[in-house]
């Protein structure tokens, strides 16, 4: 194997308003090798890949593909140059067949007419290359396939494009154990064919199983680089590598944790089964699990968005099986959604209006907007001041604020109503490292004031550091419970249901 990399990114820097996403990052990938790109959420992995594929343009640095400069301005250019990115959110068309998706935009033709037969046979050939031919029919509609199979279609698309570089962004996020093995075998096949593979993950097991080289990103910088597969704990050290004691707020003492506020017994619906859960006043309960394990479904069930269909829910002893979010909020349950832009913010409105939204929703419709039963303009301003929300003015549109400040405004929305239970879904996603600490301390302050806090996070160190108790979910139910400061490995094993110890 030649030592010249297929693709080399040198000294890449990128900033977004309010956040420095990447700082002088260099990264290279060789033919026939798997280069693992490892780091926590928000470490800058996705930004790096988006720069590689031409979605973003770097502020500084350059990209060399096969010895030639390759600063792509558009995803199409990188695709043409042989770089295929398989994002977590697939770019497949659900209403088209497998073959139609694989040949999207470059269908074989006979004259002016599409050559369906050639499309089908070529699709079959490509799928057979990595043993997926038996699983997927070229004529199946993508909407009818499960996530793992859809992923195979994405990989087949990359192969049929003759990609020299394939980027996989956390490809196992939605896969079960058996499906993971199929994926690993596929990656091995790609490697044998001489493809350069950039494999993004934060799971040590996958790194040890697949990687030839490893680069660890932390807070937008390269924290470590290994040219041979290193020991897992070396990676973990590089990934976390900070003084945890300062970063997270101290856990609750025994005395601070009160009586159960919200209790679920045998709760279930289409996504959940046999949920037994107690949330106590003053306690932060972290929820770990892989994507699709049912954590968000549980949050949405408690919040009444997708209610439980079986079992009982009680809040301070009273029935709390809420049928919709409005009921839940009235009952004293609040929720901070995981996707801030899509689910939490009203982007065209002011910071103040965002903060006051819930308070207004529970006040008389024709009441004045200046003050209501739960908050007033001045009390909201005081709250925002107290949380140190940085904005040119509270009348500024919230879309101009940084992620951390936006999140604080959303938290302020709930504080005005003093909920008994507050559910945080991915509270620090897309937030600056320093702002994260602020959110952790805010959660702790709320807990001290007697709120029961449920925190769902895909960032294991965060769950371990911030929660007093950690609940692990898998396949729609709760499978394990750990105390504060549990080992990452134990959580991972419980979350994936693996038997072997890998990291």
């Amino acid at each position: 194997m030649s030592d010249t990399p297929v693709i080399a990114m040198a000294h890449i820097s990128k900033s977004f308003p309010g956040v420095r996403a990447l700082n002088d990052v260099s990264f290279a990938c060789h033919a026939g090798q798997v280069h693992a790109l490892v780091g926590e959420n928000g470490a800058g992995k996705s930004t790096l890949i988006k720069i590689l594929s031409g979605v973003y343009r770097p502020d500084a640095g350059n990209i060399v593909l096969n010895g030639a400069n390759a600063n792509f301005k558009h995803p199409v250019e990188s695709l043409r140059a042989g770089i295929s990115v398989i994002y977590q959110e697939f770019s497949l068309l659900p209403e088209r067949t497998v073959a139609q998706n694989i040949f999207l935009g470059r269908e074989p033709r006979k004259g002016l007419v599409l050559d369906h037969a050639a499309m089908r046979s070529e699709t079959r050939r490509v799928l057979d290359l990595f043993g997926a031919g038996a699983r997927v029919s070229p004529d199946a509609l993508v909407a009818d396939l499960d996530v793992a199979t859809q992923q195979m279609v994405e990989i087949a698309k990359a192969i049929s494009l003759d990609a020299r570089v394939v980027v996989m962004d956390e490809p196992t996020a939605a896969l079960n154990e058996a499906e993971c093995e199929v994926l690993f075998a596929t990656v091995d096949k790609l490697r044998e064919r001489g493809t350069a593979i950039i494999y993004i993950t934060h799971r040590m097991r996958e790194v040890t199983r697949l990687a030839d080289r490893v680069t660890v990103l932390k807070d937008g910088e390269v924290a470590a680089h290994f040219d041979t597969p290193p020991a897992p704990d070396a990676i973990v050290r590089a990934m976390v590598g900070r003084d945890i004691a300062d970063y997270y707020a101290p856990p609750a003492t025994q005395a601070e944790i009160g009586a159960p506020v919200l209790s679920v017994r045998n709760g279930g619906n289409a996504f959940l089964r046999h949920i037994d859960l107690d949330l106590r006043a003053g306690e932060i309960v972290g929820f770990a699990g892989i994507q699709g394990a049912g954590r968000v479904a549980l949050a949405m069930a408690l919040f009444g968005q997708v209610p439980f269909t079986t079992g009982t829910v009680t809040l301070n002893g009273a029935n709390a099986a809420f049928a919709n979010p409005r009921d839940a909020i009235r009952g004293g349950v609040g929720l901070l959604p995981g996707d801030r832009k899509a689910e939490a913010l009203v982007l065209m409105q002011s910071v103040r209006d965002n903060g006051l939204l819930t308070a207004r929703a529970f006040s008389p419709l024709v009441g004045t907007q200046k003050s209501n039963a739960h908050a007033s303009l001045s009390s909201m301003d005081a709250l925002l001041d107290q949380m140190q929300v940085k904005a040119a003015s509270y009348e500024q549109d919230i879309k101009f604020l940084s992620g951390g400040n936006q999140q604080k405004a959303v938290v302020a929305r709930w504080l005005a109503l003093k909920p008994k239970v507050l559910i945080f879904v991915e509270p620090t996603r897309g937030i600056d490292v320093n702002a994260k600490a602020g959110i952790y301390h805010l959660m702790r302050d709320l807990a001290r004031a007697g709120t029961a806090i449920m925190m769902i996070s895909s960032d294991l160190p965060e769950v371990i550091g911030a929660a007093d108790r950690i609940v692990v979910m898998r396949a729609g139910t709760i499978v394990a419970e750990f105390p504060h400061g549990a080992a990452e490995t134990d959580l991972m094993l419980a979350a994936t249901g693996e038997t072997e110890v890998a990291a």
Binding site: A342, V346, L357, R360, G367, K390, A391, N434
Partner: protein, 328 residues
């Protein structure tokens, strides 16, 4: 620290108020009209202009509620028709009937808005289709009710709101009742939209319905209310139009698009989240000023439609380009 840090002193300072460009356009048009026809500067000139524009201004302010909530209401023109046709039949030339006829019309309007809202919220029909369907249906109802050829007249009492001028006043000499209605309703609609919880929630559901729902906003209730406000404003506009238009089955035709054009001219954001009642009213006046100008230029009536179409497209296109430059 990578977050943008701003001096604390700046924070309290209000941003420079940005003046909506529609006011400049309106002012320029009025200057142009006065130059071409100095009589317009006389009270009878501009008062008649305001009187003529009042129904559309109220309609545009009502339409704005639906637009800011993220939809369209194309049924308002047919509501106007129904009001004019229905009132002439119900009042049956009896001057004493005016008040209960007007009350009935507002009740019908509320019902229409309620149905529009229910169809959009619970049957999930896009508002454009739902209200177009309502338009066809109501036009059919107006035909059925009048047997195809509306007869009868509106009583003078009914026509009071649209037609009568209070005369012999100092300074301005005449004051159309229609203008008083516009000021009262315009202020009420302004207050409701920009000074109450409901108004803020209408903005929120148009901006991001999913986020609003998760924040506890009763999205369906607020959306239905927006449709009701729009229909009620159409009833008001219909009563005023009854003052100077004849009774026919096409009095309201085209008003829905004029109302949307006016709102868009006033800077309302299509698909929701942003809009201003005073600017929508200014948009309606602007549209009327343009029509007046076209009249002075001696252009045939249908050219109005062409111009209106061009304005509609241009206003949205300009807004899109501006938004692209200022960042989303």
């Amino acid at each position: 620290m990578t977050e943008q840090t701003l001096p604390h002193a700046d924070r309290r300072k209000r941003q420079l108020p940005q003046i909506n460009p529609v006011y400049f356009v309106l002012a320029a048009l009025i200057v142009a009209i006065v130059v071409m026809n100095p009589a317009f500067a006389e009270p009878t000139g501009y008062m008649n202009f305001l009187k003529r524009a009042a129904p559309l201004a109220i309609l545009a302010a009502g339409q704005l509620y639906v637009i800011v909530s993220g939809g369209f209401d194309l049924s308002v023109g047919s509501v106007i028709t129904l009001v004019v046709v229905g009132s002439s039949i119900l009042s049956n030339n009896d001057p004493n009937s005016t008040w209960w006829v007007i009350a009935t019309m507002f009740a019908i309007g509320a019902g229409v808005g309620l149905i529009n809202g229910l169809v959009v919220c619970y049957l999930k029909v896009p508002s454009l289709i739902a209200t177009l369907g309502m338009m066809i249906t109501l036009n059919g109802v107006a035909f059925m009710w009048s047997g195809g050829s509306p007869r009868g007249y509106l009583t003078d009492q009914f026509r009071f709101f649209g037609r009568v001028n209070i005369s012999d006043l100092p300074l301005i000499r005449i004051l159309p009742v229609a203008l008083i209605v516009l000021i009262v309703l315009g202020f009420a609609l302004y207050w409701l939209m920009h000074r109450t919880n409901l108004g803020r929630m209408i903005h929120a559901i148009g901006d991001n319905p999913r986020a609003a729902n998760l924040a506890g906003v009763p999205v369906n209730r607020v959306r239905i209310l927006a449709f009701i406000v729009s229909s009620l404003s159409a009833v008001a506009a219909g009563i005023m139009l009854g003052g100077f238009a004849g009774v026919s089955t096409d009095v309201g035709t085209g008003y829905e698009l004029q109302a949307i054009t006016a709102a868009v001219l006033g800077g309302a954001q299509l698909l929701g989240g942003r809009g201003s009642v005073p600017a929508a009213i200014a948009g309606a006046l602007t549209l009327n000023a343009i029509f007046t100008l076209l009249n002075f230029l001696g252009l045939p009536q249908p050219i109005r439609q062409v111009v209106q179409g061009l304005i509609l497209i241009a206003a949205v296109a300009v807004a899109m380009q501006r938004r692209k430059h200022t960042g989303r």
